[in-house]
């Protein structure tokens, strides 16, 4: 399998802040590879190093077979980058922006139209509109079209779905899946844990370090204990009561229930007696499957 990105021992400091600590990973051709982590984890810094906009203090970054330090001129022609902030020209129209990007990369809109047609067709009816006047969802589609118009070998998307509603996020993922047929490798970042499941492989990143890299299913399976979900009408009371139960290791809110782990990975009737004493008399506890987020929480606590 062809490696599109090979990062080894990447570190980067800004003043006192260690943004990235000795990061190594590889991305295979045609993959959708996700960096999942909160703000300040180092995702943007890493993406700027991948796209040759920053140099690492230490380590080596190879992208599309080229060293990012020595081969940056060649590389930039082959990377499509959609930064977190809207980076198009607000006072140019939709069409002008697209033409501009095509021209800068020495191509034409027609030449690669098939690649973007699926995405661009949504905004084409508004092609005379200034980019600054587009709605959020349309700006995102235009930005993606512009990042793709030169048919890059690698597409880098920095938090493309942050602040976007669930419907638009779902549509955006459908578009990315379709791009796979053109064998474009996609690296993206997201703070939404549920999007991890849509990636081929993910890296969980926190505090400038990678906590885990694997297929999302494998990461879930890495959860080290049996996980239980507890439900009761009085949820806040339930969390506190569960934490005071001697066998409890962790208890935290998760959607409509509380996720709990126990020292011996099991519970008996004594927990219901304990909960009753604490005023919770309608608790239900069942075993459940850990999600990526459960695993992320576990890894964060160990880190």
């Amino acid at each position: 399998m062809q490696k599109v990105v090979e990062a080894s021992g990447i570190s980067k400091k800004f003043g006192e802040t260690q943004a990235l600590k000795n990061i190594s990973f590889e991305v295979n051709e045609g993959e959708i590879f996700g960096f999942i982590g909160p703000d300040g984890a180092g995702k943007t810094t890493l993406f700027r190093i991948i796209t040759t906009l920053l140099l690492p203090d230490e380590g080596e970054m190879k992208v599309l077979g080229l060293n990012s330090k020595t081969g940056f001129k060649e590389l930039r022609k082959n990377i499509g980058y959609m930064p977190g902030r809207f980076s198009l020209y607000q006072d140019l129209s939709v069409e002008e922006n697209l033409n501009f990007y095509a021209t800068v990369f020495g191509t034409t809109v027609n030449e690669n139209y098939d690649l973007i047609s699926d995405i661009y067709s949504h905004i084409e009816p508004f092609k005379k509109r200034l980019a600054g006047k587009l709605s959020g969802g349309m700006k995102q589609k235009l930005a993606l079209s512009c990042a793709l118009i030169h048919k890059p070998g690698l597409l880098v998307l920095d938090e493309p779905t942050t602040g976007v509603d669930a419907v638009s996020r779902s549509e955006f993922w459908d578009m990315l899946k379709k791009l796979k047929q053109y064998n474009i490798t996609i690296i993206l970042s997201t703070p939404y844990m549920d999007e991890a499941m849509r990636c081929d492989r993910v890296a969980l990143i926190q505090g400038g370090q990678i906590l885990s890299i694997d297929k999302p299913q494998k990461i879930k399976e890495g959860f080290s204990k049996k996980l239980f979900r507890a439900k009761a009408s009085e949820k806040y009371g339930l969390i506190n009561a569960l934490r005071q139960y001697p066998e409890t290791v962790t208890a935290y809110p998760f959607g409509d229930s509380v996720h709990v782990t126990f020292i011996n990975d099991k519970f008996d009737n004594s927990i219901f007696m304990h909960l009753k004493k604490m005023g919770i008399d309608d608790a239900i506890i069942t075993e459940t499957e850990a999600s990526i987020e459960d695993r992320f929480l576990e890894l964060m606590k160990k880190a």
């Binding site: 703000d39 300040g40 949504h122 602040g163 509603d165 806040y236 959607g255």
Partner: protein, 265 residues
């Protein structure tokens, strides 16, 4: 008997020919955690601004914390707390200064401000940071402090506009526990979020689409009604009723100020 703290009847808000809120009707109760959901540009921010006394309805009756949004917006502002993701605290003031500033703005007596400031620093275990500038705090701590400051004057209702965007999962959970604790004290929590799993944390949620409320109920009942496993599925089914799967916003909606995209401005 549930006590109503927000009552909205036939709320309409227009900007020129654009109808941002199209006849909204709902109630929110004391001590409730109410999730206010909707697609980008559905009209959530407009409604939130009216409920918090920052904007006046074109027509309809909006009563918040006992005051009419059209006649007494200033009284509403005194009786609510507000926190949003983008700005909540002054970065060039210290933690202690921020807390005391908010107490002062809400007209709390000085002795009470001093006492509650110490209580709050204790509760958050923030004493070691208290003289640090906000700018030096990690995002998670900032968001927790911003929430505490928003309820510092013990308002009847606190409005949270995407409070957990970009926050790590541990902090998000601690944040939600603070929300539970606040609601348990009887403060109503009104929250908007794009994290659909967070909608499950709410007692009730409403979903807005194209200026209207298209669903309002407990997460469990909504899931049952739409045969969905998660609130996210419900949301995807109903938040954009028309033109699916690839909707184009109609030109009249485009002229409105919709689409609150963080980072894409």
């Amino acid at each position: 008997m549930k006590k109503t703290v927000i009552s909205v009847k036939n709320l309409v808000k227009k900007f020129g020919s654009f109808t941002a809120n199209d006849n909204l009707n709902f109630e929110v109760y004391e001590g409730e955690i109410f999730g206010f959901l909707g697609a980008n540009g559905a009209g959530k921010t407009t409604a939130l601004r009216i409920l918090s006394g920052l904007s006046s309805p074109t027509s309809g009756e909006v009563i918040v914390a006992g005051y009419n949004a059209k006649k007494d917006p200033e009284k509403i502002k005194k009786n609510i707390g507000y926190m949003c993701q983008k700005f909540s605290l002054y970065s060039d003031l210290t933690i202690r200064e921020n807390i005391m500033l908010y107490g002062g703005i809400y007209g709390m007596p000085k002795t009470l401000i001093i006492k509650r400031t110490e209580d709050l620093l204790d509760k958050l275990s923030f004493h070691e940071y208290s003289d640090r500038l906000i700018a030096d705090l990690p995002l998670g701590l900032k968001q927790k402090l911003a929430f505490s400051v928003a309820v510092f004057h013990e308002p009847k209702i606190v409005f949270l506009d995407e409070p957990t965007g970009g926050v790590d999962p541990i902090t998000r959970r601690q944040f939600w526990e603070m929300i539970y604790e606040t609601a348990n004290r009887g403060i109503t929590v009104f929250v908007t979020t794009h994290y659909m799993d967070e909608a499950e944390y709410c007692n009730r949620v409403s979903i807005m689409s194209e200026g209207k409320i298209v669903a309002i109920d407990t997460p469990a009942k909504l899931k049952e009604q739409y045969g969905a496993k998660t609130v996210e599925e419900v949301f995807i089914k109903i938040a954009r009723p028309d033109n699916r799967p690839h909707p184009l916003p109609s030109p009249s909606r485009l002229s409105g100020r919709g689409g609150n995209w963080v980072g894409i401005e």
